[in-house]
């Protein structure tokens, strides 16, 4: 029995290296990234473009997302039904969406289907149908989804947090897929303009990961954007100004048995030299099961099913966010505890054990992240979108290992500023208001959001 009483000694680690990849610049400006993986049965293809939400005119907020979705609803040659049939007959489910910093169309195909799949993707990107009826349908679905999201306590908290955190005029204040005010006014002409302006080879990266013939892949890439050339205007620079200082915002959701807590401030952008330090810091705070937040709020106090914290480094600074859904009765106690844990991160360096575990976790899971061809194609995306160095993944683990206890302490002190924190929750304001005022976490504001008005009923034809 004694030999099994002690943790076993691990074997010798087997080396893992991020796979080799090549970058090619085509004549028309398209950048092609090839990640050859000869033993795979699937190929993942990701096309990313500078056509995300940050490329929008604020008056057209939501057009990037709608345009991306519209692309899969047909080409000049194939209507929506025909295009769905043509792609799905190959076993493809083409995804097309956008986020703040890019638009992306992607699929995973069995090896034998790669060539016809690339041809269909190219057709979709080069000559999409951009049908008005389909546009109006997707628009109506987006508006309905906004309504649905405001009935969901977590999504409601997420939306309202952005509004509370960022100043008027900052694009990050509204959802990446646009709010109802702007989406309702979008037209098919806006989609056509967005496509014509941003879906250009100079603004695009084609990533292919799996078992494929490189020459055939490059040839297919050449026809991806046809005779177009040039780059779009790219993304606007977002000035991530905070709306104000420390305060408490209660988004009233009567009868809620839980409060969805969001404690946040403006964080860092993707190019910040503190990126790795911030990652290790947020892992210790709320990025592992035995993190400070989860250990205390879940495993000791039983306040929540899970608590987490992290940064969202975009081209400009996305939020630093700590979150948990807690039983309504313990809301104030949970906030108090969460704030105390944030203070604790700032006041002292982490214990050696904590730092070791966070670094071991981030370094150790490295090969697990890249098990799939989709995961590998996804790993190339930040190199393409943020212009990270080609050796980013080769040097990643070294950067994590290099973070010291003092650096975590300093980073927490710099990036978590108590007087900047927005403490927001969606929950039962009637039950919580007085207790929150008494707790004096900050000035308390109560919002009673009206759900968005339903869009006009679909006209059957």
């Amino acid at each position: 029995m004694t030999e099994t009483a002690v943790r076993p000694v691990p074997g010798a680690p087997r080396a893992y290296h991020f796979p080799q990849f090549e970058r090619h610049s085509l004549e028309n400006g398209l950048t092609v990234w090839l990640v050859p993986l000869p033993e795979r049965a699937l190929v993942s293809v990701h096309l990313v473009l500078d056509g995300g939400a940050a490329a929008e005119d604020e008056s057209r907020a939501g057009i990037a997302s709608l345009t991306a979705q519209l692309l899969v609803t047909g080409t000049r040659r194939l209507d929506a039904t025909q295009f769905a049939e043509a792609t799905e007959r190959l076993g493809l489910e083409i995804g097309s969406d956008s986020s703040w910093d890019s638009a992306r169309a992607s699929f995973g195909a069995l090896n034998a289907q790669l060539e016809p799949a690339l041809a269909l993707l190219a057709e979709m990107i080069r000559e999409p149908r951009l049908d008005e009826r389909e546009f109006e349908r997707l628009k109506a679905e987006r508006l309905a989804d906004i309504m649905q999201s405001r009935a969901d306590p977590g999504r409601l908290a997420d939306e309202m947090l952005l509004r509370a955190l960022y100043a008027e005029g900052v694009p990050y204040r509204r959802p990446a897929a646009g709010g109802p005010e702007t989406v309702a006014a979008l037209t098919i002409d806006d989609a056509r303009a967005h496509h014509a302006t941003h879906y250009l080879p100079g603004s695009a990266h084609l990533i292919i990961a799996g078992a494929f013939d490189p020459d055939a892949a490059l040839a297919a890439a050449g026809s991806m954007l046809g005779t177009r050339s040039g780059s779009g205007p790219g993304h606007r620079t977002v000035e991530p100004t905070a709306a104000g200082g420390r305060r408490v915002v209660v988004v009233d959701r009567p009868g809620s048995v839980q409060s969805e807590l969001r404690v946040a401030q403006v964080g860092i952008d993707r190019q910040d030299p503190r990126f790795f330090k911030a990652l290790v810091t947020s892992t210790i705070l709320g990025g592992m099961f035995w993190s400070r937040l989860n250990r205390r709020l879940r495993e000791e106090l039983g306040y929540t099913y899970g608590a987490r914290a992290g940064f969202d480094p975009r081209r400009s600074a996305g939020p630093f966010l700590a979150s948990a859904a807690v039983q309504t009765e313990v809301t104030v106690a949970a906030i108090r505890e969460l704030l105390r844990l944030l203070d604790q991160m700032r006041e002292a360096p982490p214990e050696a054990r904590e730092l070791r575990e966070a670094k071991d976790y981030l370094v150790g899971i490295f090969p697990l992240r890249f098990e799939t061809t989709g995961g590998l194609a996804g790993a190339i995306e930040p190199l393409a979108v943020y212009g990270l160095q080609d050796d980013y993944w080769q040097t990643y683990r070294g950067h994590i290992e290099a973070v010291s206890t003092d650096e975590v302490h300093r980073t927490a002190d710099e990036l978590i500023q108590p007087d900047q924190l927005v403490i927001l929750l969606s929950g039962d304001a009637t039950r919580l208001h007085d207790e929150l005022v008494e707790a004096a976490f900050g000035p308390v504001e109560v919002l009673s959001p009206e759900p968005a008005a339903p869009p006009p009923a679909a006209s059957g034809a």
Binding site: A5, V6, V9, P10, G11, A12, R40, A41, L42, V72, A80, A84, E85, E88, R89, L90, G91, G108, L110, Q113, R137, A140, A144, M147, Q148, R150, A151, P153, S256, V257, Q258, W290, R298, E299, E300, G302, T304, Y305, A325, V326, Q327, R356, E357, D360, Y361, V363, G364, I365, F366, P367, L368, E371, T372, T373, G374, P451, P454, P455, A457, A458
Partner: protein, 434 residues
């Protein structure tokens, strides 16, 4: 066609072992299925199997509370567990040189969970699970759909009547004695399957398994599985409306269906994909794109191993649309497929989509390991992983139609409709409001 290598072994104490080696990446997945789920719960003890799963992470004889998670993550691994109607599974994926850590942790809690169990830990995890219920059910729009659906498809005393998360009252009643007896009854090597998939050396791995699990005693008094026999049809169309704080009506349909593993179940999986997989599917084409009656639609089966499985659909009405019209259109499409059957092109489409999805999921060692455990535990046949795709491809139009005609009938149907509450009166809105 997948061709995953499979080796089967067993220990004298009854532990079944499945090994599937693949050294493409330096990672290994460990997966343990215990043949116990919420269907084994006694009356007044709903949610216990899941609460017990939480207790399994609270330490064991040589492991501290939370240390299982901490050690695996600190070794560069990912992990979780889940409880469902028929089973509970525990799984870790780690860099391959840490295989023995996972085996040691799983064996320590299988052998000696109880010394680490305290009232304080039970009280803590009870609160955590209650919050899980609040988060996923009570505080969510449409949140209790699964609980209601199971209760309508299966009669009150049936093991599948209640949902896995359980009720707040029953969770409050769970005791340390329950933990002890549940462990002693179900958490035995002869009630479990251990799968290792990925980068490892089989002979060395077997030695490790023997070293850590070999001395754990089996339970010779393993109870029989609870009786789940049930008539194949509900015998009625059961209609329930639920006023909820939701902006849009949503309809859930459920039918009793032949159990997971039967030819009819396979045919109904094809039917579900024909109806709802992809944008060229019948329901998406007709309800979402064509008539714009729905925001979304989803069709799926509960892979239940006893009594009956469930063939389920749900769809959210478009704003301004009405639930009755959507229901009518939905049922018309289902009937049309049952009557006319799919075309060759449609069958080719779903077959290729299915094959792609299987290949995609098998890229992950954790997924491979879990499916191997599933087939070993439920069928004593891990090799079914390699014949999944062939079984799907073998389903022809005739089998689809026959299976649909048998199961998707009005006298075997639950219709559960969520309707937006009016703000002022709290009454349900919608066409069917009295």
């Amino acid at each position: 066609m997948p061709s995953v290598p499979i080796e089967r072994h067993a220990l004298p104490n009854g532990l079944r072992i499945v090994l599937s080696q693949d050294d493409r990446a330096p990672i290994v997945a460990v997966n343990l299925w215990y043949d116990v789920g919420s269907r084994h719960e006694k009356a007044g003890k709903t949610g216990f199997a899941h609460l017990f799963e939480h207790m399994m992470f609270q330490g064991s004889a040589h492991v501290e509370k939370g240390e299982h998670m901490s050690l695996v993550q600190g070794a560069g691994g990912t992990l979780n567990a889940s409880t469902w109607l028929d089973r509970t599974n525990y799984f870790e994926t780690l860099p391959s040189h840490e295989l023995e850590l996972a085996l040691w942790l799983e064996a320590d809690r299988m052998a000696s969970l109880l010394p680490a169990m305290t009232q304080e830990k039970l009280d803590n995890q009870r609160e955590v699970v209650k919050n899980e219920r609040r988060w996923s059910v009570d505080n969510q729009p449409y949140g209790d759909w699964d609980e209601r659906m199971q209760a309508l498809v299966f009669p009150e005393t049936h093991p599948y009547h209640h949902s896995t998360i359980g009720s707040m009252e029953d969770l409050s009643a769970a005791s340390l004695d329950d933990v002890r007896s549940f462990f002693a009854t179900w958490y035995a090597p002869n009630n479990s399957v251990l799968t290792i998939a990925g980068d490892f050396e089989p002979a060395a791995a077997l030695v490790m398994v023997e070293r850590h699990f070999g001395s754990i005693p089996s339970n010779p008094d393993l109870p029989d599985a609870p009786a789940t026999t049930i008539p194949p049809r509900i015998g009625d169309e059961v209609r329930v409306e639920v006023p909820d704080r939701v902006p849009l009506p949503r309809i859930y349909l459920a039918h009793r269906a032949p159990i997971f593993g039967t030819d009819e179940f396979d045919a109904l999986e094809v039917a579900a994909d024909l109806l709802g997989l992809g944008r060229a599917s019948r329901l998406y084409s007709s309800l979402v794109r064509g008539q714009r009656l729905a925001q979304d639609v989803s069709v799926f089966l509960f892979p239940i191993i006893g009594g009956a499985s469930i063939f389920a659909l749900w769809t959210t009405a478009s704003p301004g649309g009405d639930a009755a019209k959507l229901e009518g259109a939905l049922l018309a499409e289902v009937d049309r497929l049952a009557t006319d059957g799919p075309s060759d092109e449609e069958l080719e489409r779903v077959r290729n989509l299915h094959a792609s999805q299987i290949e995609s999921s098998l890229e992950r060692v954790a997924e491979r390991a879990d499916r191997l455990s599933m087939y070993a535990c439920l069928f004593d046949e891990p090799e079914r992983l390699n014949t999944e795709v062939a079984r799907y491809l073998a389903v022809d139009a005739g089998r689809v139609q026959a299976a649909m005609a048998d199961a998707l009938r009005p006298d075997n149907r639950v219709v559960l409709t969520y309707l937006p509450m009016a703000h002022e009166t709290g009454d349900a809105q919608g066409e069917d409001a009295a």
